[in-house]
């Protein structure tokens, strides 16, 4: 199985600015432009990130793209699947029927729900159409890093 690159969380450096969420939303919006996304009329997507904060500790967590993904194992329709090329765990919203098996199985609880449409609404996809995840690129304090399958840091190539 191709192992995906993963996001490493360093909770001691998270400053609680929540810009990771802002950039995740921007990246998954139609225009991918931050001002258009927030001020324009396009529908703003939900970010795949859960931000948690308690006192002076905070961090942002998203899907870990686990090697043994219980969400894939337990999905009734095959809507949760693994992308063979990159090893990422992806979600096909059309197939989803809102059975909530994945929500029950995810040990980190990082799957977001659309209660109205009865579907999983958002789960990190490691920014499939981008070389580098938007959240990692824009974290101002390197509280989240990208690591490869060996656990070594992957840096964004400056272009």
């Amino acid at each position: 199985m191709v192992k995906p690159r993963r996001i490493l969380i360093k909770e001691e450096y998270c400053i609680g600015c929540r810009l990771c969420e802002v950039y995740c939303i921007t990246q998954h919006s139609p225009s991918k432009d931050i001002i258009r996304t927030y001020k324009g009329s396009e529908v703003r997507p939900v970010s795949g990130i859960y931000f948690e904060e308690k006192g002076s500790v905070s961090f942002a967590i998203q899907c870990r793209h686990c090697d043994e993904a219980p969400c894939i194992e337990n999905c009734l329709t095959g809507a949760m699947y693994r992308d063979e090329k990159t090893g990422r765990v992806l979600h096909n919203r059309d197939k989803c029927v809102g059975c909530w098996m994945c929500v029950m199985s995810c040990p980190l609880g990082v799957i977001k729900i659309d209660y109205e449409k009865k579907k999983v609404v958002s789960k990190c996809d490691l920014c499939i159409d981008r070389e580098f995840p938007a959240c990692v690129e824009h974290c101002p304090n390197e509280a989240i890093l990208l690591v490869d399958e060996k656990g070594e840091r992957v840096e964004k190539k400056s272009g």
Binding site: I9, E52, C75, M101, V103, M104, P107
Partner: protein, 449 residues
């Protein structure tokens, strides 16, 4: 990726007959979630050993819980599968459909099927369950209008019957998961439904009274549904061979041409009954999913293992459990030595728009030694059952995000005394948990921070 593929198309190569003197390394009886995950488990350890799967159904892959969506018209038949059409080919599996396993000969390591004999080295029995038909006055198998609702052919026949007779109302015997999902499907087709439940509440095996009442309210709000608790069907009335009505234990009569019996499912142990494989309600398995015979495994709704919370043996007939059991069985059949730890009841369901997730002991019979914290407001209900400061059960209704975290807290028996008052909070998350557990949780088993 192709989103749908056709169950109805005659797929080439999958309807093989049983070959003369067929021998296989691994034989799997049953092609639902346990059997399919067993294939994945085997292939993780053994890329080459031959695998044969036999199924008594004619469909090469579908997800049983989805039949209610098919009934309700939400999903077409093509959308019921959970593996794509290349799954069996890619894993080099010979899938023989329409074949029933009739007899198991342990000494000769053979299974006699309706289409021939297959010799095996390792066997998985994943025959699932069969619906329970309680003894009802006037019941006969050939009465038209009485259905069970556990597989696709049930759903297809039901669908055909409803269309043919233009059914407008029906009675469902049994207020468990199957009965309620069936009710949901019928309601979506505009059919008026009466749910008859023997105990004092719906989903009595899964939820407590408060949570059940919620669901009952939502069902009744649909105005097409009434719920009759502490009742059962005593008598079936027919007009010749056509169903015409039922009489309840209270004496009430209901005219109906449709009765669905959803009064429970029993593990299908017919195959092991005449052997010396140990069974109880289901086939008894250890933590490796092995039966009392070392080269024979069992998984899914037919298997009975030890409930981690109660310590008792029980059959936990739920998809994620069957999936994992199948996987563990498959890996062990192929030479691994892993165990299924963390076996306990769990449920995720959405009934008439109400999402519910539950784990473990949700309705302790005595409050002796159990501590309960709960919160109820508007359309949200949360309940946590604790014993010795460890979570042994929970119910989340209405708001279910992050509930998966609790599965880990139960499985790893985490002491929650330090954050007990935050368990019900809307912000409950990983930060509430001690840092070492949180970092381990996000670090163990192929999961990394």
């Amino acid at each position: 990726m192709r989103q749908y593929f056709l169950l109805t198309k005659k797929v080439k190569g999958w309807r093989k007959k049983v070959a003369e003197n067929m021998v296989t390394e691994y034989l799997i009886i049953g092609n639902s979630v346990a059997g399919v995950n067993c294939i994945a488990g085997i292939r993780e350890m053994d890329r080459d050993g031959s695998i044969v799967v036999i199924s008594d159904e004619d469909v090469y892959n579908y997800s049983r819980p989805l039949i209610s969506y098919y009934l309700g018209g939400r999903l077409g038949i093509d959308a019921l599968s959970f593996k794509n059409e290349d799954f069996y080919k890619d894993n080099r599996v010979e899938l023989i459909l329409g074949t029933k396993a009739e007899r198991l000969d342990i000494d000769r390591k053979e299974v006699v099927t309706s289409k021939g004999v297959i010799k095996f080295n390792k066997l998985l029995i994943a025959t699932g369950g069969r619906p329970v038909i309680p003894a009802i006055d006037g019941y006969a198998e050939d009465i038209e209008g009485i259905f069970t609702f556990t597989n696709l052919s049930d759903a297809k026949r039901l669908d055909g019957y409803i269309k043919r007779k233009n059914i407008k109302k029906g009675v469902i015997l049994g207020g468990g998961l199957i009965g309620l999902k069936c009710a949901e499907g019928l309601i979506e087709r505009g059919i008026q439904v009466s749910i008859v439940e023997m105990s004092d509440r719906l989903l009595s095996m899964t939820l407590d009274k408060d949570a059940s009442l919620f669901i009952e309210e939502m069902l009744k709000n649909k105005k097409q549904c009434d719920v009759l608790t502490k009742e059962t069907v005593n008598r079936i009335m027919c007009d010749g061979k056509l169903l015409s009505g039922v009489t309840l234990s209270s004496g009430k009569n209901i005219h109906t041409e449709l009765l669905i019996i959803a009064a429970g499912v029993r593990p299908d142990i017919t195959l092991v009954k005449d052997t010396f494989i140990k069974y109880n309600r289901g086939i008894l398995v250890d933590e490796h999913m092995r039966t009392s015979v070392p080269f024979i495994y069992a998984a899914g709704d037919v298997a009975e293992g030890k409930d981690m919370i109660t310590g008792n043996n029980s059959v936990i007939a739920i998809w994620p459990v069957a999936a994992k059991q199948g996987k563990v069985a498959g890996m062990n059949m192929a030479g691994s030595d892993i165990i299924y730890d963390g076996l306990f009841p769990m449920n995720a369901v959405d009934i008439v728009g109400v999402p519910v997730i539950s784990f473990g002991i949700t309705n302790p019979s005595e409050t002796d030694g159990y501590e309960i914290v709960k919160e109820r407001r508007e359309n949200i209900y949360k309940k946590i059952v604790l014993k010795d400061n460890r979570i042994v059960g929970c119910i989340f209704l209405g708001r279910i995000e992050r509930s998966g975290i609790f599965q880990g807290l139960i499985k790893y028996k985490i002491d929650v005394s330090r954050f007990k008052d935050e368990l019900l909070s809307d912000d409950f998350g990983l930060l509430v948990l001690p840092a070492e557990y949180r970092k381990h949780m996000v670090r163990g088993e192929g999961i990394e921070v």
